[in-house]
């Protein structure tokens, strides 16, 4: 199909297939592609609003048996530098978040071999008993890990966590949802089918989730697109994904130091194609954490409609050599300067009134 025909299809709100997406990524002019993605964004969100959430990442532990090659954050169980936060320490971080107007915490950690599922259940109960905060936590690989460790089905793990206070699940650990790539960069993490299975099970149980994609390591462009189509099909089945968050791999201090750092224009092309392909996912986040505030602004014209979060604390990307920091005021200014109205939101993208 010609580019022109693909453009009309997209502008008419029709779904594009894999080959058409590949043609767009490879052949569309840079500005045309941005414009096309922006039109899709405007069709979904006609108001010039850009949302973000005030939250904090809390990494309860960096001890992990996964040993993913792209990760600069983890410690092996007996290695120096490993830690597990106490519930009280976690509580203090939550209080600090609430004190600056935060509404949510994003919690993720390593695959710790010695922490039973009850530790996580108690953590959730402790938080819910003491703080009024949305808990956006864990990831499918963690859920699969606990299911294997405890010898119980994934369904039960999710049920127990949900009951203990889990509100939603972030889309981490998706990396590239193609097993050939996963077995190379994250051999000990759950395969693509299981990742999607956990999310769909969570959706069945009434939990919303996001989906991420980490690209720019060992995968091909085609495999990135396979990832997008896997998410689109999964969303067709359940409708539980609130947002898609693509971001680029940061190679410093990892076991894949030779990967070429993707350029900002490659990121923007992939972001635009994501917005166009994922016609059933409402929101697309820009990644200021990996791309910096300047490119994050430009990304608002390449399909992004959400600025992610304030991330009062972020440890994982920082360990890989990138440390951008943004306050709420700065996010507001960046969004306004780009020509949009900044609005605080909750995890499910309900807009919150200013306070």
């Amino acid at each position: 199909m010609t580019l022109e025909a693909i453009y009309s299809k997209v502008l008419n709100g029709e779904r594009i297939d894999f080959k058409e997406a590949l043609t767009l990524y490879n052949e569309a002019d840079f500005h045309d592609l941005g414009h096309l993605a922006h039109q899709v964004r405007l069709a979904k969100h006609p108001d010039p609003i850009v949302t973000y959430v005030v939250d904090r990442n809390i990494n309860y532990s960096n001890v992990c048996v996964c040993c993913c090659k792209f990760c600069a954050f983890y410690c092996e169980p007996d290695q120096e530098g490993g830690y597990v936060l106490t519930y009280e320490e976690i509580g203090e971080k939550i209080q600090e978040t609430l004190d600056v107007g935060g509404t949510q915490i994003l919690m993720q950690g390593g695959h710790h071999p010695d922490l039973p599922l009850t530790w996580y259940e108690e953590m959730l109960r402790y938080i819910k008993a003491n703080y009024e905060v949305h808990i956006h936590a864990f990831s499918p690989p963690e859920v699969v890990f606990w299911s294997e460790m405890e010898g119980i089905p994934v369904t039960e793990v999710i049920e127990r966590l949900h009951k203990a206070g889990l509100d939603s699940i972030p889309g981490g650990g998706a990396e590239i949802l193609v097993d050939e790539v996963r077995s190379e960069v994250a051999p000990n993490k759950c395969p693509a089918g299981q990742w999607l299975g956990v999310m769909e099970e969570a959706h069945q149980q009434g939990l919303r989730t996001t989906a991420t994609m980490m690209f720019g390591h060992k995968e091909t462009v085609e495999q990135r697109l396979e990832h997008l189509f896997a998410v689109r099909e999964s969303q067709d089945r359940t409708g539980g994904y609130t947002a898609f968050i693509p971001w680029t791999f940061q190679p410093d201090h990892t076991e894949l130091p030779d990967c070429r750092k993707l350029t900002s224009t490659e990121y923007l092309r992939m972001l635009a194609v994501s917005r166009i392909v994922l016609d059933n996912v409402d929101n697309v986040q820009v990644s200021w954490v990996t791309m910096g505030p300047k490119i994050a602004q430009l990304a608002l014209y390449f399909g992004g409609n959400d600025f992610g979060s304030t991330m009062l604390e972020e440890n994982v990307v920082k360990a890989a050599g990138v440390a951008f920091r943004l306050s709420r005021e700065e996010i507001n200014r960046l969004v306004e300067d780009a020509g949009f109205i900044p609005k605080r939101r909750s995890m499910n993208y309900t807009i919150l009134e200013d306070r």
């Binding site: 010609t2 580019l3 022109e4 453009y7 569309a28 002019d29 840079f30 500005h31 045309d32 941005g34 414009h35 096309l36 922006h38 070429r260 993707l262 350029t263 900002s264 224009t265 490659e266 923007l268 791309m291 910096g292 505030p293 300047k294 490119i295 994050a296 602004q297 430009l298 014209y301 200014r333 960046l334 300067d337 780009a338 020509g339």
Partner: protein, 364 residues
């Protein structure tokens, strides 16, 4: 097949400007103002990209170069500068000619362009700079020596009690090939009075560049933006440069420099954001119809923004640099230098063809 056609630019309110650009017609001051007011920065970027592509295709230039800063001692004390020291102040330094040569020797790649600038030192005499020029040329006979901003040239002339043209002639004889574009800041007099009252005036800066052109030398030109100047001041700056180029024709490359707020004494209420930088770069390309190249200077923009700038009118990625001090003291967080492989891969990653150049922008 282009998706962005006439109707898109019409909707953005710049359809007539697009027509002028496509017809090769010169843009007016008012056109510049309207480009700043255009609601979508992408429209301005796409138009600048068309011009850049018409001039250079998908080429993006880079140079194996090296920066040497011979001193940070400066009599000017510009309020935006984080690099300057007073004479005798702690941290002040002056390189000897041997030190400078040793720095050039230590570079991993033999530079094709050596960029030497420094503060306006109250005591360094012209003979030192002549010696420096001929020492570099003895070491590297084929290098392009791009040294001394117009502000330094004016300072040397004052110290030697001679004319700037005489200084240029003597340095040219000693080996100087080209002037870098620094010290232009913003030409508008009221802004200049506030940010760099002791520096050469706009007229002096432009005169020295035109004198260099009349001696057959090439020069670059910069604009430091995002401090206290208005968008109109930026357009004014671009138009003054365009007129100067009409008189001499010796400007090779224009370098828009975003002001970095971190370590400066200037308190900026609303620092620049990324899209305003890109828009300014794009408008520079559109206004400066008679200057061949626009630089995406990664040291000041940051690498990712410089990559995006290649789609907003810029065609030059500068080079390996090796050791940069002035921007980094102002708060630049970019690397100190880059390798040839890094530069080439980055340029290819932006969908452009990397072309190695010398200081004059001849392909090598």
């Amino acid at each position: 097949m282009k998706l962005l056609k006439g109707d898109y630019y019409d909707n953005m309110g710049i359809g007539d400007i697009r027509t002028k650009v496509l017809d090769g017609e010169r843009l007016s001051f008012e056109d510049g103002v309207r480009l700043f007011d255009c609601p979508e920065p992408l429209a301005v970027g796409a138009l600048a990209h068309q011009v850049r592509t018409r001039m250079h295709g998908d080429k993006a230039f880079y140079v194996i170069n090296q920066h040497v800063n011979y001193t940070n001692v400066c009599v000017n004390g510009c309020v935006f500068c984080a690099y300057q020291r007073e004479e005798g102040q702690e941290g002040g330094f002056v390189l000897s000619v041997d030190d400078a040569i040793a720095k050039i020797d230590s570079a991993a790649l033999t530079p094709r362009e050596v960029h030497i600038v420094g503060g306006c030192h109250p005591k360094l005499r012209l003979s030192y700079f002549e010696e420096l020029m001929s020492a570099v040329k003895t070491k590297l006979p084929n290098v392009v020596l791009k040294c001394f901003t117009a502000v330094e040239i004016a300072h040397f002339a004052k110290l030697e009690e001679t004319t700037s043209k005489d200084v240029l002639t003597r340095l040219n004889k000693a080996g100087l090939d080209m002037l870098p574009g620094g010290g232009a800041e913003i030409f508008e007099p009221k802004v200049r009075e506030q940010i760099c009252p002791r520096k050469s005036t706009a007229e002096e800066w432009l005169t020295i560049h035109e004198e260099a052109h009349s001696l057959g030398m090439k020069t670059n030109a910069t604009m430091l933006f995002g401090h206290i100047e208005s968008r109109e001041d930026r357009i004014d700056h671009l138009i003054r440069l365009r007129e100067s180029q009409n008189r001499g024709g010796g400007y090779t490359c224009f370098i828009p420099l975003p002001f970095l707020t971190e370590n400066s004494q200037l308190d900026i209420e609303k620092p620049l954001t990324g899209l305003e930088e890109l828009r300014t770069i794009a408008i520079s390309r559109l206004m400066l119809d008679n200057i061949p190249h626009i630089k995406a200077y990664w040291v000041m923009l940051g690498v990712k923004q410089a990559q995006a700038a290649l789609k907003f009118g810029a065609d030059d990625f500068d080079g390996t640099v090796v050791e940069e001090k002035i921007g980094h003291e102002a708060g630049a967080t970019s690397e100190q230098g880059m390798t040839r492989v890094e530069l080439e891969e980055m340029i290819k990653g932006c969908g452009c063809t990397p072309v190695e150049r010398d200081g004059f922008f001849n392909e090598v």
